[in-house]
Symmetry: C2
Subunit: 383 residues, 2 copies
């Protein structure tokens, strides 16, 4: 025994494709079958958001017909499992347990696939169950909302809530594929259509001034539900998110999390409103809070702040919530620090398309920024 | 919208050190303090195996004294959590829940450390809880048994049992460090001292003939509890395991799992005996079963098989269990296939130090091999 230690070092390679298609359960669309076939997926199990089933009552029969039309590519091993949509599905362990039970009952192994169809909350929950069963069953996500297609559904994280804290439990587990089907967007209600746009504004603000200008130029088309600009917005937003994840610290070993710009306050607002405020709606407020703070701190010009206020308002977001008290906000800031771990790291703006990280925030300025949001809300938008 | 997909591809680098030391809670041993300090670990929480506490009643006071002596390196954030040792701790969710609750109550974040001290089962369970809280709290393992120090505690896997199936839930999550403290070996009972040796025999058989010869030459010293050869055995066994994990497919995306030589039957035997048979004891039987099968299949010479039988017997292992019926074994084989997923892949031997993978096993020969084990057990060892 001369040596006193052994150094273990290795790399793990991850890759997956985010596809953009439409009517993916149309028998003539080969995409899903080809993706499953490329992984020799013999056994496939679907987990579906109740909200999607309500809007697409023929979804199950379409999935069955699709499987029947592609028997060489994959085989359904059981009827789909339907789970509630929205944050509720993340607040209880039992939906995770239902997926684990199905995995056990149907012999779904590490080479089988669990395909989840739904909004971000369902994908987060199903992704978590899938990540821990057999130390990881293969997983495909089919996001159905703007938010899930351009942000939450395309990354490497999954989660459920616990102890009243958002995303307390989860893992970093890349999916095997993501398939964005634009036909699901057609049936979204107004709030779900709009709310995902805030994540595009967010990533534009920290990374891409020309994308911000593009959103400004297309804000009317976007709010009047034009599909072509929405598909473009989703593609570019997804691309910016994927570039950031792949180029940086995918499993977030550090404390920096730039894509969470505006999110520390958003998470707290969601929790305080019992998730009546949707994630994207809360993010719109969080973006404005941190943009206003950046302005008060002398980092961001008033002209830039005005553009941000005007864009968020023209997209139809509420920009103030009565829960924005100093006490709530400071609590939210501490919870965010604890969830990230280590040193507090908050992304602010020093220009449109340009983020800057800080490690402390001034409580008085946070409170002042919240007061400004109330004022912005009352002002008639100049647009 | 011209492009139809975005390819996401990245590498994640993992590294951790496995240290070999003794009396690590002696105030004069700087190792643990230095490791924690290197990660700027301000907050540390311990999870400890009840079995270890029973054998080391002064452990908590030593940990506290150690922390008090190294205040610049880390800070205990709460009293240690004690959990039962042995497989029982993996059979219920509540011990995982206790760690999650502690993480919540004490504000243990992604940059804090949870340090687990114990046998393989406690490390598996604590590693799982740690991996899913906040999507991964930093984790250090201090394995206290031969088995945990040379195999289960040094790798990248964690798990608990569910639905009566071993390791049904878990993740691949490398620790931040492993510290093997040989002083814990002094208080092991006979069975725990012996049972970890079977993993060394296993890895020698599939990878390193000279290590097998070394174990043969040292079998008496090992069974009479000589510490120097045991430390050598643990070091070399750990080294072979780490080389394999780092050099191959660390997160097991394929179906091949060579280090599970002898394990398919072992897992079933553990379950069928309600874990009265310890893992290493079951592995000893599993090794002999698959070695005998390899011989019956014409892959392994009878001379080599005799050496394996004699070594396992001279190490004091029972080599037969009444649960080795054909029905049980075939069920175990199917469960193993399901847990690995995909195509059945079983490691056999075509020589000492040389493994060979097969994708099917002959039920009749499995049954014959089990019959031979009964015979070997009855024969007086020729050594």
């Amino acid at each position: 025994m001369k040596k006193k230690s052994i150094e273990q070092k290795f790399f793990v390679s991850f890759d997956y494709t985010v596809y953009f298609s439409e009517n993916i359960f149309d028998k003539k669309n080969p995409l899903l079958g080809e993706v499953l076939s490329s992984y020799k997926a013999t056994k496939v199990f679907f987990v579906v958001d109740q909200g999607v089933v309500n809007l697409h009552p023929d979804l199950f029969s379409k999935i069955k017909d699709y499987a029947a039309a592609h028997p060489e590519n994959f085989r359904l091993c059981a009827d789909p499992l339907v789970v509630p949509g929205g944050e509720e599905v993340k607040n209880q362990l039992r939906f995770v347990e239902q997926i684990l039970e199905a995995s056990n009952n149907h012999g779904i192994d590490r080479h089988s696939f669990i395909v989840a169809i739904g909004g971000g909350a369902v994908l987060d929950m199903a992704g978590f169950a899938t990540a821990i069963a057999h130390r990881g069953i293969r997983h495909i996500r089919i996001p159905t909302t703007v938010l899930a297609q351009n942000d939450s559904g395309i990354g490497v994280k999954n989660s459920i809530n616990a102890f009243g804290k958002k995303n307390f439990l989860g893992t970093f587990t890349p999916p095997y594929a993501v398939i964005n089907d634009s036909s699901f967007l057609l049936t979204l209600d107004e709030r779900d259509w709009r709310s995902g746009i805030s994540e595009a504004v967010k990533v534009a603000l920290i990374k891409d001034a020309s994308f911000f200008e593009w959103i400004e130029a297309n804000s009317t088309a976007l709010t009047t539900r034009k599909m072509i600009p929405m598909k473009e917005l989703i593609y570019r937003c997804a691309e910016l998110h994927l570039e950031h994840i792949g180029g940086g610290d995918p499993f977030e070993s550090g404390s920096s999390r730039p894509l969470d710009f505006g999110h520390w306050a958003a998470h707290k607002l969601e929790q305080l409103t019992n998730y009546k405020l949707r994630h994207g709606e809360a993010v719109a407020i969080g973006i404005l809070l941190d943009s206003t703070y950046s302005n008060l701190k002398g980092l961001l010009s008033s002209e830039a702040l005005n553009r941000i206020v005007n864009l968020i308002k023209s997209l139809g977001f509420n920009i103030y919530s009565p829960e924005l008290s100093e006490e709530n906000l400071l609590l939210g800031l501490e919870e965010f620090r604890e969830h990230l771990g280590g040193q507090l790291t908050i992304m602010l703006l020093n220009g449109i398309g340009s983020g800057i990280e800080v490690h402390e925030m001034d409580p008085t300025l946070i409170s002042d920024a919240a007061g400004k949001l109330k004022k912005f809300q009352q002002e008639v938008s100049p647009i």
